[in-house]
Amino acid sequence: MTTAREEVLARIRAALTDVVPTEGRRGDETGRSLAPAAVLELFVERLEETGASVLRPEVAVAGVGDALARHGACRIVVAPDLDAGLLPPAEEVVVDHGLRPAELDALDGAVTTCAAACADTGTIAFDGGPGQGRRAITLVPDLHVCVVRAEQVVETVPELFARLEASAREGRPIVLVSGPSATSDIGFERVEGVHGPRRLVVVLVG
């Protein structure tokens, strides 16, 4: 008896006997066109379109403090390797060493860094690198405050994927976030705030 694997592969090979291999054109052009300052302007504009708020403080810690205060967030979860200098001293900080989902649910928010960001789509990307933590910490609490450094922001989606390629090859899980959670399921009307954080604040520095 043949296995399902062998049979499916045999069906595919039998189905493709007419195909002549060709090198298809692939879209790897980056399409970059803006000056660095304009890239940051675009990033802010597009992020705000997605429903995220953007702060541009002189120093990151001030922006983080501002974001937490605005949303009344007191109990904050962070990754063990988050730079302590990003956190205002007054906050109650829970360091994540594998908190259970229910424990995360009891917290007000998460403060993280990111791996890269894309201006064209207002996207921030996470790959579990320094300061970012496990995927769950930016998912279960209702507020996500993310510190983005200017040099992390690229203009286009192909550039973003180029930046993330090494992480993908290492098998690191990657999450792309473009705004707070939302749904269009009620008559295609966009409503913000479903299962993921209902509020996303990006603190852009540098």
Partner: protein, 474 residues
């Protein structure tokens, strides 16, 4: 609920289900409103994308290349996922896939799973198979949850509850959640779904998802969503099972940069959807500790074997073709007997399901206007495949009365002499039906067709006859 909307009723062919669907004014209004809204959003964001045509061509090339190298890419994907600590299973058909998934859930000892909206698992009726095994599947996408709670079939690829406006959605949620005071307000409804599902996410130990794409070289599986339910399902539970049609594989990581620009713009009219999850096998300390990828054929290789029908497998399930289809916009999705409604369903489903059963007539559920081909982000020439599928239907049916009549007509048109003889015969035969040079009724099997149409009769004198008799000297 109309029978064709019910999850449990036997599927009905389009031509029969469309009639009651057209008589349902409320549903038609909801479908028209929603599709009008999404069309406007899609065209606005596409206009705002200067390289859209290049992007579409790149998407088409990537998807075509994937199909042409499908065996190689699937073997590569299997290797990458295994290297990353995941397990890969192959399923020839729906039954086999359902057995694999049911067995995997059983082996965890769990009786409840959370699910990310997945057309593929709707296609194979996985929830029903799980229920038979005593396992409850909790749908977590808002629209999918609504149709699940209402006991209905999905009516749209992207928004399964598209046939309901917010008042109907509120009604379903009030009933199911026991919250009679819930208001028909979009924000309140989303909040109700959040509150209802939060407990399910926090206790879930097994999740089931579909996949938008998978990358052969890196073993990356990709789920695109908006609400965060996809992230919840792919992150919090201990075991994650992903069911994926074999055609969803792409070769390289960089291919996603093209496809993830095409998909959200075409689907929801956004530059990027709120959340995209990308994972490869398992990662110690972050996310599930067991990952299973089930690769499903279920008719895909049949479609692949037909070079004319093959491009349908490029589809990335954006539903742009559905939203512009003048037929879908009038009937809604429940007139279609299958999960894949609209133009893409009309070419995909007969190929997947074979040529019998209620999906067989779907290639006729179209006016061939071509709006679908204009918006398809991966350049599928849907009208061309519709015609190809219609030809298949014609080839396998014995010529009926219509076929024989057309054959007679072909004979009459094949020589001047026969044509003129036919004209004279028709002139004699049409007399009883003729009034003011129009045919008021048609005989026999044509009666029904003639009832709503007024045909001109054959003229008393044809142009050629007049030419013969005209006075040359004048």
């Amino acid at each position: 609920m109309r029978p064709s909307a019910s999850r449990t009723a036997a599927p009905v062919a389009f031509e029969h289900a469309a009639r009651p669907a057209l008589a349902d004014a409320g549903t038609r209004a909801a479908v028209l409103d929603a599709t009008t809204e999404i069309r406007a959003r899609r065209s606005s964001v596409v206009r705002d994308t200067p390289d859209w045509d290049d992007l579409r061509r790149a998407g088409e090339a990537i998807r075509t290349d994937s199909l042409h190298r499908l065996d190689e890419l699937l073997v590569g994907l299997e290797r990458s996922v295994r290297q990353a600590g995941g397990e890969v299973h192959w399923a020839r058909d729906a039954l086999e896939a359902n057995e694999i998934v049911t067995g995997l859930v059983r082996s965890t000892g769990e009786r409840e799973v959370v699910k990310v909206k997945s057309l593929t698992t709707d296609e194979i009726r996985l929830n029903e198979a799980l229920a038979e095994a005593g396992i409850i599947a909790v749908e977590t996408d808002l629209a999918e949850l609504i149709v699940q709670l209402a006991g209905e079939r999905p009516s749209h690829l992207l928004v399964p509850s598209l046939h309901h406006d917010r008042h109907a959605i509120a009604e379903v949620l009030r009933e199911a959640l026991g919250t009679p005071e819930l208001e028909a307000d979009s924000v309140a409804l989303a909040a109700a779904a959040r509150a209802h599902l939060r407990a399910a996410f926090l206790r879930a130990r097994v999740a089931i998802s579909g996949a938008n794409f998978a990358v052969a070289e890196t073993g990356t599986v990709c789920v695109v969503e908006s609400e965060g339910n996809g992230r919840m399902c792919t992150t919090l539970p201990e075991t994650l099972i992903t069911v994926m049609g074999i055609e969803k594989v792409v070769a390289e990581w960089g291919d996603l940069a093209v496809l993830l620009r095409l998909l959200p713009r075409s689907a929801t009219g956004e530059r990027m959807n709120p959340y995209t999850s990308l994972w490869s096998g398992v990662r110690t300390g972050d996310g599930p500790s067991a990952f299973h990828l089930v690769l499903l054929d279920a008719g895909r290789t049949r479609a692949l074997a037909d070079p004319e029908g093959r491009p349908a497998l490029r589809c990335i399930r954006c539903s742009a073709c559905v939203n512009v289809c003048p037929v879908y916009r009038q009937t809604g999705g429940h007139a279609y007997p299958t999960v894949y409604a609209g133009p893409i369903g009309a070419i995909l489903q007969p190929q997947l399901a074979g040529e019998r059963g209620p999906a067989a007539s779907l290639p006729y559920a179209s006016s061939l206007c071509g709006a679908c081909a204009d918006v398809c982000p991966v350049g599928i020439d849907i009208p061309r495949i519709l015609v190809h599928e219609r030809a298949k239907v014609v080839r396998r049916t014995r010529p009926g009365l219509e076929g024989r009549a057309l054959r007679l007509l072909a004979g009459a048109f094949s020589s001047t002499e026969r044509y003129e003889r036919a004209q004279r015969t028709a002139r004699a035969l049409q007399r009883p039906a003729l009034r003011d040079e129009r045919l008021r009724w048609l005989p026999g099997p044509l009666a029904g067709w003639g009832r709503s149409r007024t045909l001109p009769g054959v003229a008393e004198q044809t142009f050629r006859e007049w030419w013969e008799t005209r006075d040359d000297g004048a």
